[in-house]
Structure formats: C-alpha cells, structure tokens
Symmetry: C2
Subunit: 559 residues, 2 copies
C-alpha cells in the first residue's frame, strides 16, 4: 500500500489537536457526482479532485508510458477514466481488474473524438490495494448470477449486483418518504415473538436450550453432581444442627449462643439446597412430563421468529393513527424456489379510521410512487436492466405509475377467467378457490394490460382477521396484481367488531387466549382500520425483471 500523510491513521502519540475536523481536509468525490446518470458535472472540470474505487479494466499504453484505468466506486454504474503516468506509480500494480486505488489529479475534457466525456489525470496515487489476476474471483468476463451467488461477499463489485443494491436503497428511501408524506409513522414490530399466528410448522424457533445444555454439560464435567451419600451427609448435618438449636433453646441458653447455632443451621440448610439443586441437574435438553420444558428456555416459553408484524402494528394504528412497519420476516419453508427465502423484508402499513377502499387507494398510490421514484432517481441502473435482463422493465414502471389500477371483485375475476377460451390454465378456476399465479398474471397482463386490484375474496380462503362483508360469504380483502410477478400486495380491512372477531377466530379452529391482547383493541375504542403487506424483494424483482429472489437481497439466506 502506498502511504501518504493525509491517510496515515492517528496514533496515541499524535497530539489530539490534529484530530479535530478541519474543513480543508480533502474528501473523495464519488464518481456519481462526476459522471453519474451519464451526465458530466461541468463545474468539476479543471478542478483537482480525489477519487477512490476499483479498477474495472486497465491497460498500459504508449509502451508503458501511461495507463488508462476504468474506475468504478459503486456510486453509479458509470466508470471514470483515469490516466496515470509511469512516473507517478508503477503501472503494472494498477491495471489489474479488482485493484483498488485512491488517486488525486485534475479532471479534464479529453480530446475531441474520444468516447469519454471527461477523464482524470492522476498525479498522485495515495493508496492502492492489489488484486492478483490469477486468483481474483471476478474477472472481466461476464459471470452468471448463479455463479455470483457463491461469492456473495464479492458480488456487489459487479455491475448487476451493485445496480440492484442502488435500486434497493432507492426503493427503501422512497418507501419511508411516501409514508412520511402521507402522515404515517414508522413502527418497529418485534422480531422474536411468542405468539404463533400462522401455525408453528412454518416458523423458526428461537432458543438458548442447546447452548444452555452445552454449558451445563461442561460444568458437570468440571464439577460433577454430588453423590447420594454426600446428600445424605448434608441432610444429617441439617438434622444435627436442628437438634442443637432445639437443645440450646430448651436449656434457655444465652441469646448469642442460640443465634450462632441458628446461623449454623441455616448455612447447613443452604448448602443442602445447593447440593440438591446440583443433584437434580440432568444433562441434555430439559424435559418435563416427557416433553421439552420450555419454561427453562430464555423467554420461559417457546419463542419464534415473526412471519408478519401486522397484528402487532395494529396496536399502534389504534392509537397513533397511520403507521407502517418495514422489517425482516421469516418462513421456515423448505421450498427452494426462485421466489422464496427463509428471510425477507416486508412493508406493512396500517391505517386507522379507514376501510377497504382506503386500503386500495393507499396501495395504488404507494406502488405508483415507487415506480415513479425509480424513473426519477435510477434511470441509469434501470436502463442497464433493460439492456441486460428485461427489455420491458422501464415500460412496466411507466405503465404502472401512470395507468389507474383496474378494480374488480373476486366474483367478477372468476367469471372473467371462466370465460377465457384462448388459454388453457393448469389450475381450475371456480368460485371459492384461490387464484393461482397464472390466473393473476392473465388478468393483469392479458385481459386488462395494467395493474388490477381484486377484492372481496371468499372468507374460507382468507385469514381470520379480515372483515366479514354483509353477504357473510366474502371478506374485505384485496390483492394488487401487476405484470411480471402477479400478486405484489395483499391487504384487507380488519375485523374491528369484537363479537365477529371472536367468531372468526373460533371457527378458524384457533384458541382465543393468544389473541387476548388483539381482542382488547376491539373492546375499547375500536375503530375501522385496514392495511396491506408488500414483499420488498418481490417489488425489486418486479422493478428490475430479475427472476431469482436470491439476486435482489444482499445476503440470501444461509441455506
């Protein structure tokens, strides 16, 4: 590494004054501010700047007199062309793909006829980090997304994954901005939960029983349980000390003498209790009545990773009005499809004093806002996606952000699908069954050619907390369907009537006790409210056209 004064780390010997921030301290420019979104920032031309990044491609020219480096720092898709003279730095150390450099120099317009609109003439190389071309895992050649999944720690250095990272970041900020502008408050719902709302089978359990058992095993090895005879001895000592106390009392001995003997007795009792406690320690997972004794687990009962923050966030909607969550959720499903992860992120708004119509309104506005945001803030990355992954990605964003969403009832949707003659569906459609992805996509892609909201589903195929409609057959649920992915959002008006909710929980075969607090919200000052959930990764797949969910999350789950 090439050292330099400005880059030397502070040491204990340095006077602290040198560590105060100074406005003159030169910071690096990010490449996005120079050539981001394809436009050159003219005001920087002719200026001295400092830039850091990784060499995408490099080559020596003019018989080794200078080198061209295509430098990228991940702030945007575009590279900055850097020219370094051989007198400045050993060029052979700079030109390999993957090398990091921090350079300083003047930003210039290149001669006419050159592709680049700007180039940096570096006269200082402040730092460099080599990358051995014989072993660097990301050579210049194009790599498959599948290959990159095995080097998750390096893949953000590729054009595709860094573009997705920027799109993901923009969608996250757009989410917070949309809800803030609409008066929603962000609420962190719990990740570890003891209420199992959707059936334990699909949930991950959170425990310290294994590590506790391991600790105990080690402990017992170093300090074995007492033997039965040790316990017997301790019991005898208690008995004897007890007799001593009684004896002294019967003799009406001095207070101090009695106190001393009582103290001795208590110590013996304590020591017996400790021995008995250790005697009863069993190695392994604690059991009780042939079952695992979760009262000895960290939380005193079984605990799981959340599958949704909805029920909990309702507590805040029913207190501070409009709220939303944005956090990780978990499913322990062993389905290794391209659309499922054990760990993924969800956005779940919840709206007070609002019904299904409001729900659909906000869902539509939110999706439109996200699409417009990408068109406004990410066009360079979106064009990359169009060129390399999905020709219609930008058209899709434009369509969704401009066309009003079509709204049809489930009943109408089923009728429409039943009358389709030009396509044979794999799954049968009839009133009462859930729509399959092929039906959803047919509705949005073929019949209406724009996003569709289907509402009022049969109650049998939807969750207990959805509000029963007056027809008693359907619930006030809605799904937003979009081209490419089908269902993007699922939502509903919540059952706010206490008796109706009790009835729904009971007829779903669920126990009432875990929902006690949820019912309490309906008992005191209940309000009509609704909400929906958007899978964040699903949204990124929709926007980018990337087909595998493992490529749109920074760290696909460890399995």
């Amino acid at each position: 590494m090439a050292g330099d004064d400005a880059a030397t780390p502070p040491t204990a010997e340095m006077p602290s004054a040198s560590l105060n921030p100074s406005p003159e301290r030169r910071r690096r420019e990010c490449i996005a501010s120079i050539v981001g979104r394809g436009a050159v920032s003219d005001e920087l031309i002719g200026k001295r700047i400092r830039v850091g990044g990784w060499v995408k491609t490099g080559r020596e020219q003019g018989k080794g007199a200078f080198a061209f480096l295509e430098l990228n720092d991940g702030s945007c898709l575009s590279n900055l062309q850097v020219i370094v003279n051989a007198s400045v730095f050993p060029l052979a150390q700079l030109v390999h793909t993957g090398t990091s450099v921090l350079v300083e120099g003047e930003l210039k317009k290149p001669p006419e006829g050159v592709k680049q609109r700007v180039e940096l003439h570096a006269d200082r190389v402040l730092e460099d980090g080599p990358a051995d071309p014989s072993s660097y895992p990301i050579p210049k050649t194009r790599l498959t997304l599948e290959f990159l999944r095995d080097i998750v720690h390096l893949r953000p250095r590729t054009n595709t994954i860094s573009a997705i990272a920027r799109i993901r970041d923009e969608l996250a900020y757009a989410t917070h901005t949309f809800f803030r502008e609409n008066g929603f408050r962000y609420v962190h719902t719990p990740i570890i939960t003891t209420s199992d709302c959707e059936g334990a089978g699909e949930m991950f359990q959170v425990t310290t029983l294994f590590s506790d058992a391991e600790k105990l095993e080690k402990d017992l090895k170093n300090n074995p349980s007492p033997s039965e005879s040790e316990i017997e001895d301790a019991k005898l000592l208690v008995k004897k000390n007890g007799e001593d106390v009684a004896h002294l009392k019967s003799l009406k001995a001095r207070k101090e003498e009695i106190s001393a003997s009582v103290l001795k007795l208590n110590k013996a009792k304590e020591s017996l209790a400790k021995l008995e406690e250790r005697f009863n320690l069993k190695p392994g997972i604690p059991q009780k009545d042939g079952k695992i004794d979760y009262s000895r687990d960290f939380f005193g009962r079984q605990a799981f990773l959340t599958v949704s923050g909805q029920l909990q966030v309702e507590t805040h909607a029913c207190a501070v009005g409009n709220v939303y969550t944005f956090g990780p959720t978990f499913r322990a499903e062993h389905s290794h499809t391209s659309r499922h992860l054990a760990e993924f992120w969800m956005i779940e708004p919840e709206i007070a004093f609002a019904d299904l119509e409001d729900d659909m309104y906000y869902a539509e506005e939110y999706v439109k806002f996200l699409c417009r945001w990408l068109l406004d803030h990410c066009i360079e990355d979106m064009e990359f996606m169009v060129k390399n992954y999905d020709k219609s990605a930008i058209d899709r964003l434009k369509l969704v952000s401009s066309e009003p969403f079509k709204r049809i009832s489930y009943t109408e949707a089923v009728e429409l699908l039943c009358s389709v003659t030009d396509k044979k569906f794999e799954n049968k459609v009839e009133w009462g069954v859930d729509l399959a992805s092929e039906h959803e996509r047919y509705l949005t892609e073929v019949i209406f050619k724009r996003p569709v909201i289907v509402y009022n589903y049969p109650k049998e195929i939807k969750a207990f907390y959805m509000r029963l409609n007056d027809d008693k057959k359907t619930v006030a649920a809605m799904d937003v369907l979009v081209p490419k992915v089908g269902e993007l959002i699922g939502g509903s008006q919540r059952e706010e009537r206490y008796d109706a909710l009790v009835e729904r929980i009971t007829s779903a075969g669920l126990p009432l006790e875990p929902y006690h607090w949820y019912l309490v919200l309906r008992k005191f000052g209940t309000v009509k409210h609704c909400g929906f959930g958007l899978g964040f990764e699903r949204m990124i797949m929709f926007a980018t056209g990337i087909d595998n969910i493992r490529d749109v999350i920074p760290f696909p789950s460890v399995s």
Copy 2:
C-alpha cells in the same frame, strides 16, 4: 357503531365502479394539521372537516344539552376540543375516556377568554367505538411507566408512549435522511447468520429441530416404524428378485422378460430402502456421535440471530463505497437491567477510503444531525419530556447539536481521570482497563461539559477487526460519549491489511475458517475503511431522558 354510507365496506354485490378512487371522497384531517405543535392552522377555520380519534376526557354540559370531548388521534400531543349536541348523538356513549369517534363538523374559533384556540362543532358522528369506564385499563389518572409495560398493546394511547413513538419515528427518518444526504446506501444485512462472531454464549440459536422432532413423533404414532421382520422380508424379496433376474439372463430369455424382472427387482430395492429409512428414524432431536446433529437442522448447520451487521456490511463498503445498516440485533444476555434488551435496533454505517478521523467526523455529524432534527421537528413532544421526565432534555439536544465534540486519546482520558480528586470512582482507572460508565459520564458531564470522543484504545480491550496503530499497543477505535447515557457510539477503523488481520484473528484465539470471506475482502482490492454503531434505543433514551429502555421500544422483548 353508528354506520353511514361513506363508511360502509364494499360488498360483492356492489358494482365495481363505486370502488374507483374519487377525489371527492372525504378523508379525515389529522389533529396535528389543525393544532399540531401548538399552532392553529387558520386556513381550516370555518371549514367542514372530518376527524377521528380517541376521547381523552369528555363531559356533558348544559344539563345534557351538549358534550365537550378532548379528542386525540396520536398525530401530535395536542387534543382537539369537539362539541357535540345531544340532538346529534347519545352523548353518554361519547364521553368516556378511551371511546373512539369519527366526527364531522365545522371548525370554529371559540368565544374570547376560552383556553382552546379552536374547536370543532360536530354535527355528525359517523362512527363510535365505546370504552367501558369500569374496565378500561387506561383511565384519566396518571399511570407509571412500569404499569404501562404490562399493557404494551394499549400503552401507545398514552401521552408519554405516543410522544416517544413520534420521536422514534422522527429519529429513524432523520437517520435515513442524514445518510442519504451524505451519499450512503442502505443495506440489509442478514438477521439469521451461521457465523458466530462474538461467542455463542450470548447468541440466540435459530432452529427447526424441535418442530421437526414433533412432526416426526406424530408421524411415527400414525405410521409406526417397520419391524425387523418386515425389513428381513423385504431383503429376502430383493434377494429372490435378484436371483430371478440372474436366472432369466443365464437362460438368455427375451429382452422384455428380463426388463420386467429388472423392474420388479428395482421396485423391491426401492421399497427396502424406504423401509430402512423409516426403520432408522429415531424420535427426538437427531444425534450423531453423542452430539446434536445440526446437519439435520434447517440450514444444515447451527444458525444464530445476528449481534451486529458490521462484518457483512463491510462487503458492501468495499464495493459500493459508503453504506449503512439499520436493523434489529440480538443478545441472549440474562441481564435484566434497565439498559439491556434481548432485541434492539442498531445503525451501523461503514465508510470506504476512510480512516479513524473520517469515522469521528461522520459520527459527530450524525449525532448533531439527529439532535437538530428533533429540535426542528419534535419540539412539542420534547417540551412534554422536559415537563414530565427530564428538565434538561432540550438543553442537552441544543448543547450536542451546537458544541464541537472534544477529542482526546484514551491515554489522555486515563491521565485526566487519574488526576481527579473531587470524586471517588467505584471502578479503578489505569491504562489498559476499559472505561466504566461512571468514567465516561464524568469526562463528558463534568470535565468537558460537552460530547467527548475518546480514541486509540489498548488493543487488548477491543475487537480483532480494529486497525492496529503504529505503536502496536493501541487500535484505531473511538467511542462517542454524551451526557446522560455515556457511550452513545462505538466505532473503529477496520484492519484492512491481510497479514495484520490474520495475526489479530489468530492471537484472539479465533479460528480463521469462519472469517475466510472477510479475509478475502483484504486479499483483493483492499481499501482503508471504518465504521461505527449506534444503538437506536440508547439514542432515544439520550434524547428523551427516559431511563428504562423498555419504554423507548414499541415492543420490549417478550421476556
């Protein structure tokens, strides 16, 4: 509940046209937009508006001719005074604390001499949700924070908890805004991790072994394992079918005949394999060589909940420059103090091409930004905190947002603390020991009376990934200390030199294998980089003066 056309949920019978959003649809105003931050929005006076909320206090007046309701909707601390005539609605149903109402009417200026600056004359009550005063858990009387911890689902309806919720939301948005303005990208680091960076003892384990064992037990009950004789019979069948094949072959029988017998043999083999698999199924947690067989767990090995996203987010800093995480982290510590939770939220920025000085710069700017944000956006809630919980809360925000942070080395800090004569510390100070909270608070509250950054700590008391200074005794670590809470931020420059990092991992007694990917970042295009972590709840405690961490997180952990 009082129904009304606009509030009727859509049903399957309704024509879908009625569900398209109409601009005339009247939405409710939030109370913050009417009386938020203590200021009345004049342009609404004289207008018809719709407002929903919960009655804080209500009373009938004029011998039951009308009622005054103090209505709060959680959008701000202030209530809106609502006047309802007896002719509009049965008043006795409206006046109890906790009742929800959605009302419509004209916003008017009250007569001179009245405390309120505005009041709503409601002529319609569109919805109401009663709250039985004999059982409503949050009466008008002031309740302790401790009491409220037992009714987490209702406590956001109180002034204190809703004020904290708003402050928390503002700090979250301020966080995203600060980092965005400074060119940082938001990265979601994994929650479930198989790398145990800080010792398994403190981590929660994530597993499906218990539920898998339960399923297996049920399965074996319904469909018991085969007996040994069943296995023997199946083996005999395989043997016999094998002999048949051999026999037919030796007879040079017709191809079809041989194929049929091979098919039979294969079926017998398959059926034997299935029986043997079931025969080997053991109920309970799977074991291998006397230990739990984690290869049968969901991820094929042990998995834990993350304690920090730092190591993972470094992969993105070393690719897309400046990044940050904001997510939940977990510690399975059984310390039931007022400052620790099993589940809490952390913000961890990571900065490329940057050293410890940059780290301190961003940490200071970030904390100042958060403090200024609260002064600019939350003054009504902050004044409530000053009045009810911490007289100096606003002064503290002003101090921290305006005064430059003092920077001193650890060595200087220890010298200063050793020379203190007017205070006796409970913990001894000498070079080489970590500073206790009492020392940190003394430095910031007494000696410097402003935030202090202590940097360059002895390497022995800091983590392996912190960059070794040239003195070989200290590492480039820094802590930001603030009045009231002591350490608010911990950060460091990371060891970017491959050999130095290997040496640090090894001498910390850690295995190299789990850090393979982390070392790879140093092998190819390594860059100087640094980062820090801020506990989000700690920041809220600092800002509000609330002493117990359970009161500043919406859902304190289930234990």
